[in-house]
């Protein structure tokens, strides 16, 4: 079976900037995939290459087996993209905008689905409002609706929750998770790492146009020496433990742990130094730790 997204040795250069550098990436159908990286890492360029907004200098990209260059009409029908910029057409109402977008994709009588999408994105009350009169958050909802209006099997969300309130975020993720559970593949870029951690099964991290990490969320979280222990002690931290010290405030010390068994070593060393543990708090690694470690080191 064809991958939902298959990127093969793709390169894209803008002047002296190598925006995407020999990227290989395969996203299977039905995945909820995260594409992460700092600003300027090449995430949006890669999405532009998938969607045909940019053309690769080298390599090939397939959407469910359709080449985005030679079979661009087929590949675009399979893809729904929420662009990062808050763009809209000021001439039309919300419903007109969605009908037009639907028509571009060959669906001229699509009001039942348009109504459903508007309902899930809480847009029903604004159906006949001109796009100019919507708040930023509402415009963002319409962008999401436009991407979903042709029920694409592959949904690309380029920072869809930037600048939107918590209520929309939760509603949007519920809807997207439902679509994902129905078999739609989701490719998400976001700077909200807690969202990516909660939603994505697999993640790729980009830096300067290259993939520097690609694995399941579980493996990535396990890969870092990212467990930490916060201790309140009866005395000074022994010198032998100082290399593990991450943070200190008064009598509270946060130490990095390479693994859970390392905690036993820390406690043994404290006992040896006759220092009592007054309080202990074990902290789990999160995606932010992974991100900082992987992207910072690469």
């Amino acid at each position: 079976m064809s991958a939902a997204v298959d990127v093969r040795q793709v390169c894209k250069r803008f002047g002296s900037l190598q925006a995407v550098d020999h990227v290989d990436l395969r996203i299977e159908a039905g995945e909820f995939f995260g594409l992460l990286g700092p600003n300027g890492a090449g995430k949006t360029t890669l999405i532009n290459l998938l969607s045909g907004l940019a053309r690769p200098d080298a390599g090939q990209i397939f959407i469910l087996g359709q080449d985005v260059v030679t079979q661009y009409r087929e590949s675009r029908r399979l893809l729904g993209v929420v662009p990062q910029e808050l763009v809209f057409d000021p001439f039309f109402t919300v419903r007109e905008t969605l009908r037009l977008q639907s028509g571009y994709f060959g669906l001229r009588r699509n009001d039942a689905w348009i109504d459903e999408v508007m309902h899930h994105l809480d847009l029903n009350d604004k159906a006949d409002t001109n796009m100019r009169r919507l708040s930023g958050g509402m415009k963002r909802r319409v962008l999401v609706a436009q991407a979903l209006v042709h029920k694409p099997p592959v949904i690309v969300l380029d920072e869809p929750t930037a600048g939107v309130d918590v209520e929309l975020r939760q509603g949007l993720w519920r809807f997207i998770q439902r679509l994902n559970s129905e078999g739609h593949t989701v490719l998400l870029t976001t700077h909200y790492l807690e969202e990516a951690q909660a939603l994505c099964n697999r993640v790729a991290m980009l830096k300067r146009g290259k993939i520097v990490a690609l694995d399941t969320m579980k493996n990535l979280l396990n890969s870092v020496a990212a467990s930490r222990v916060q201790l309140r002690l009866s005395g000074e931290l022994p010198a032998v433990l100082k290399p593990q010290l991450v943070e200190q405030s008064d009598d509270s010390y946060t130490l990095a742990l390479a693994s859970y068994p390392a905690l036993e070593t820390v406690l043994a060393q404290l006992r040896e130094a006759n220092i009592a543990v007054l309080e202990m708090n074990l902290q789990e690694a999160d995606l932010e730790d992974v991100f900082l470690q992987v992207v910072g080191a690469a």
């Binding site: 803008f14 532009n48 969607s51 045909g52 907004l53 940019a54 053309r55 661009y72 009409r73 087929e74 675009r76 029908r77 893809l79 993209v81 662009p83 910029e85 763009v87 809209f88 057409d89 000021p90 001439f91 039309f92 007109e96 037009l100 977008q101 028509g103 571009y104 994709f105 060959g106 669906l107 001229r108 436009q146």
Partner: protein
């Protein structure tokens, strides 16, 4: 006819209709002001064709000038607005072939050009009623001329990065070519040199052929004008399609 093309065409026409005051009524009023002033000043002094009042002579020229200018304005302004506001992305993300993109923008330009032209013609009938001896020629030149300008508008709208550049294109290319095309005069009234120069202006053939449809008289054979205008449109269409196919300034 594909749904993508039909929707894009409908969107472009709907856009014109939504701002009809600016896209339809304003240019009709401008043309009527030209007619009012020029016919009032020159009516008694000039007779271009025997037995034809100057005001009647002027009407087809003004109608065609409106058709051409508005056809150009339609595609060029729509595209540059979409580019600058960023909403062109909705069209670029869709499975629309470059030929459909071209046809939708050009056809919408033809519709606006013809709508403004019809408005100018009907309003001008209050001043004079020119005969309409060969309606088919009128339709052929109006459609071909507006299609040529619609395609030129696509090129200009894609090429221009700022409204300034588009205004330059309009003021330094479109306006001079339309004014120097025989809208207000017959080129036979020009000195030899300028008659020669006029023959390199494609707008001259559009207006001369269009006027032939009304009076059955023209500076040049309408068949020759038809050949020139058809060739110009074919060349412009080929150039525009090649530009769209390359993704110039639309796809990075």
């Amino acid at each position: 006819m594909s749904s993508s093309f039909a929707t894009l065409f409908y969107k472009e026409v709907l856009r014109v209709w939504k701002v009809a005051f600016q896209t339809l009524l304003a240019p009709i009023l401008t043309s009527l002001l030209y007619l009012l002033i020029f016919s009032h000043v020159l009516e008694e002094h000039i007779q271009v064709y025997p037995g034809v009042r100057y005001t009647a002579f002027l009407i087809p020229g003004l109608v065609m000038m409106s058709v051409l200018q508005n056809a150009f304005a339609n595609s060029s302004s729509s595209l540059i607005q979409s580019k600058i506001t960023g909403n062109i992305v909705f069209v670029l993300l869709a499975p629309i072939a470059y030929g459909e993109f071209f046809a939708a923008y050009v056809l919408a330009s033809v519709v606006r050009g013809l709508a403004v032209g019809a408005g100018v013609y009907v309003s001008a009938l209050f001043f004079a009623v020119p005969p309409m001896l060969h309606p088919l020629w009128i339709i052929v030149f109006a459609v071909l001329g507006s299609a040529f300008l619609g395609a030129l508008g696509v090129v200009a709208g894609i090429w221009a990065d700022k409204f300034d550049q588009l205004a330059g294109f309009q003021n330094f290319i479109i306006m001079p070519l339309t004014f120097l095309s025989g809208v207000f005069y017959s080129i036979h009234s020009l000195p030899e040199f300028w008659q020669g120069v006029s023959r390199f202006n494609p707008f001259f053939y559009m207006i001369d052929g269009f006027r032939y449809g009304f009076f059955g008289v023209s500076d040049i054979s309408p068949w020759f004008s038809l050949a020139v205008v058809s060739a110009c449109f074919a060349a412009m269409a080929a150039f525009t399609l090649a530009m769209l196919r390359s993704g110039y300034k639309l796809r990075l």
